[in-house]
């Protein structure tokens, strides 16, 4: 059995207050083991980003965690004070954001920002030592000739290079868990391939667990050991990457996989998931995917009962009353 780094159970996040409150994440549970990559995939508004932010204690002021436990080691991230969290963030737990242009401070040199990430959790290092570490880190993430570029401002660097700097900051203190939210969405495909390779490399070297959040099933498929598919604030399917992609057991996963135009296949028409993701404050009764589902066929149980994740835990689970029918198709 692999060592669990992060164990999240029953996490719920709500935005807004009172009658305007919108449930963004609704009681999700998952775990990440050492050296493992968990891919969280879903469309806008499914709660994948709110999940990452909640774990980091970085939800915007309108959002709050309403239930759940997230154990990193033997401590609950969700119960920590902001001060305690600051001690952990960047050290045990680090984040790679989507857009390297906004994740970096535009008026500070890249070298200074990386060395700050080092110094923040290593007060015993003096300036020169922190700089030395920062240079090593930039070298490790593949920035050519970091010493000559140490004083560059972020705008001088390309998007791919900036994302490398962001990764360098994230791994500065060899965190046990990395959370990467759409780390390559802002990048060109050939640069995306480089950054994905880099994430794999640093993960291999540090043994960190990685939560990779993306809307792109291709990216998630390529990187993940296990996958969690989110819809309307819930995990509707989770399992090993092979099982989820080859034999999806939730109709949403199946439809999502078929609606992506494929480079290796000519199709006249793409399969379409009709309608759009539901408004999280006006969820349909029963199964939230029911109105768009090709499998439900208007059956009463889909309308009346919200399905729960069912199946073999750790191997393959789906929240669908008729998962078995999908397996036969």
């Amino acid at each position: 059995m692999s060592a669990t780094i992060l164990d999240v159970s029953n996490l719920s996040v709500v935005f807004g207050k009172g009658s305007a409150a919108v449930p963004a994440v609704r009681g999700i549970s998952f775990a990440v083991a050492r050296g493992e990559t968990l891919g969280i995939v879903g469309e806008s508004g499914c709660g994948k980003t709110a999940t990452g932010l909640a774990l980091l204690g970085l939800l915007p002021s309108s959002g709050r965690v309403t239930s759940g436990v997230a154990r990193l080691g033997n401590r609950d991230l969700l119960a920590m004070s902001p001060r305690e969290l600051r001690g952990i963030r960047g050290r045990r737990l680090a984040m790679v954001f989507q857009d390297p242009a906004t994740a970096l401070n535009p008026v500070l040199s890249i070298g200074r920002q990386v060395s700050e990430a080092v110094a923040a959790h290593n007060s015993e290092l003096d300036r020169a030592q922190a700089k030395k570490r920062a240079l090593d880190l930039l070298e490790a993430v593949g920035v050519p000739d970091p010493a000559a570029r140490y004083r560059d401002l972020p705008h001088v660097w390309s998007g791919g290079m900036r994302q490398r700097a962001v990764v360098a900051m994230a791994i500065a203190n060899r965190p046990r868990l990395l959370i990467a939210d759409e780390p390559t969405t802002a990048l060109d495909v050939t640069i995306q391939a480089q950054v994905l390779d880099l994430l794999r490399l640093v993960q291999g070297e540090t043994g960190a667990g990685l939560i990779l959040i993306s809307h792109d099933f291709g990216v998630v498929a390529e990187m993940s050991d296990r996958i969690a598919v989110m819809y309307a604030g819930e995990i509707v399917e989770t399992g090993t990457a092979g099982k989820v992609m080859e034999t999806p057991r939730h109709p949403y996963t199946a439809a999502l996989l078929r609606s992506v135009p494929d480079l290796d296949l000519d199709r006249e028409q793409l399969e379409v998931i009709g309608g759009q993701p539901p408004n999280p404050s006006l969820l349909p009764s029963g199964c939230p995917f029911r109105p768009r589902c090709f499998l439900s066929g208007g059956r009463a149980v889909c309308r009346e009962t919200a399905p729960r994740l069912d199946g073999e835990k750790g191997s393959h689970q789906a929240a669908c009353h008729f998962a078995a029918e999908l397996a036969i198709r």
Binding site: E43, S44, S158, G159, G160, M161, D188, V189, T190, I191, Q192, A193, Q194, L196, D197, H215, D216, F217, G218, V219, A221, E222, M223, M245, A255, L256, L257, S259, V260, P261, D262, L263, D264, D266, R267, E268, Q269, L270, E271, V272, I273, G274, Q276, P277
Partner: protein
């Protein structure tokens, strides 16, 4: 009168940036027949957006000709251009930024008709119907619509004047996956029904493959490979095309088949001599660094600008084995 709807010949768009000349588009040529789709694909800085902006005459090309329905648009005055603009419309990437938030859907769609002095009354309902929206949407504001619905409004507006050519600039890049498929299918249906030609720009190879009859792969302002969809996707003869194809993460393919290019797209103000792709190429030889390769046929329907065009890959493989590529 040629049989082409659009013919772009040796198009060049040069900018000045801090006293340096940037050749954003450096000699691009292609033709587009009525009712067909031409897809321009490439990464940031390859010149695809400058090319379509020149076709839309949102910028004036440095040299070259853009012939639309037999008329060279490059030297027309704004007034002379006006009747032609009716025939060339555009759908933009961001359905949030490209619709005026203070106008209702009805006003947005009828605006091109009013500008050109045409009757708008019944047309808006027909257009809404064409793009799969109901007449109840006419009174709404963009903020009341989802991203997919907004993009449908953008498409309806582009079709309002019954153009013969619609420029699609990253039409689905900002949409969710499930909505993307809806819009791609819609664009295909509309083309089948109306016979409109599309000039598509995208960084997404799968989108280009899905919609295009002809494809041009661009790199640093030049075409590196062009041809029919079958010719380009069937045999990625140019190493850049091949690495671009293999870099796309897909559900079906394993990562071991990937070619990861080293380095980045060079500064377009100081492109490398010879073949622009040579510093990143996995098979470049001495000639590549001195001599610029010309576009030459590698098959009946495909052309490629490479001194050493690659053979067709064996079936079921995306590219050469990773360990063989360090030549």
């Amino acid at each position: 009168m040629s049989r082409h709807l659009l013919e772009v010949r040796d198009l060049r768009v040069h900018y000045r940036r801090q006293h340096r000349k940037v050749k954003a588009v450096d000699g691009i040529s292609f033709t587009l027949a009525p009712g067909e789709t031409m897809g321009l694909v490439g990464e940031s800085g390859c010149g695809k957006s400058s090319t379509v902006r020149a076709v839309l005459r949102l910028l004036k090309p440095t040299s070259g000709t853009i012939t639309f329905e037999g008329t060279d648009l490059t030297h027309l005055s704004p007034k002379q251009l006006r009747p032609h603009r009716r025939q060339i419309q555009a759908v933009f990437q961001d359905p949030y930024g490209s619709l005026n938030p203070r106008m209702t859907v009805d006003q947005i769609i009828s605006q091109p008709l009013r500008i050109h002095g045409l009757e708008a009354r019944d047309r808006v309902d027909d257009l809404l119907d064409l793009v799969g929206l109901g007449s109840e949407h006419a009174r709404r504001f963009p903020r009341e619509l989802s991203g997919g619905q907004r993009q449908r409004v953008g498409i309806a507006r582009a079709l309002a004047l019954s153009p013969r050519l619609v420029v699609l600039d990253e039409p689905v890049s900002s949409l969710d996956v499930s909505i993307r498929a809806q819009i791609l299918n819609l664009l295909k249906e509309i083309q089948d029904r109306l016979g409109v030609a599309y000039l598509l720009v995208s960084h997404d190879l799968s989108v280009v493959r899905h919609l295009s009859d002809h494809v041009a792969v661009m790199y640093l302002g030049r075409t590196v490979q062009a041809g029919t969809r079958g010719a380009v996707f069937g045999r990625s003869a140019h190493p850049y095309t091949r690495s671009l194809l293999s870099a796309v993460p897909t559900v079906a393919r394993s990562r071991s088949e990937r070619i990861v290019l080293t380095g980045e797209v060079p500064d377009p103000a100081a492109p490398p001599p010879g073949c622009h792709f040579s510093p990143r190429c996995f098979q470049s030889a001495e000639a590549c660094f001195d001599l610029e390769p010309a576009l030459a046929n590698y098959s009946d329907s495909g052309r490629c600008a490479c001194h050493f065009p690659l053979p067709a890959p064996p079936l079921g493989s995306a590219g050469p084995d990773r360990h063989q590529r360090t030549i």
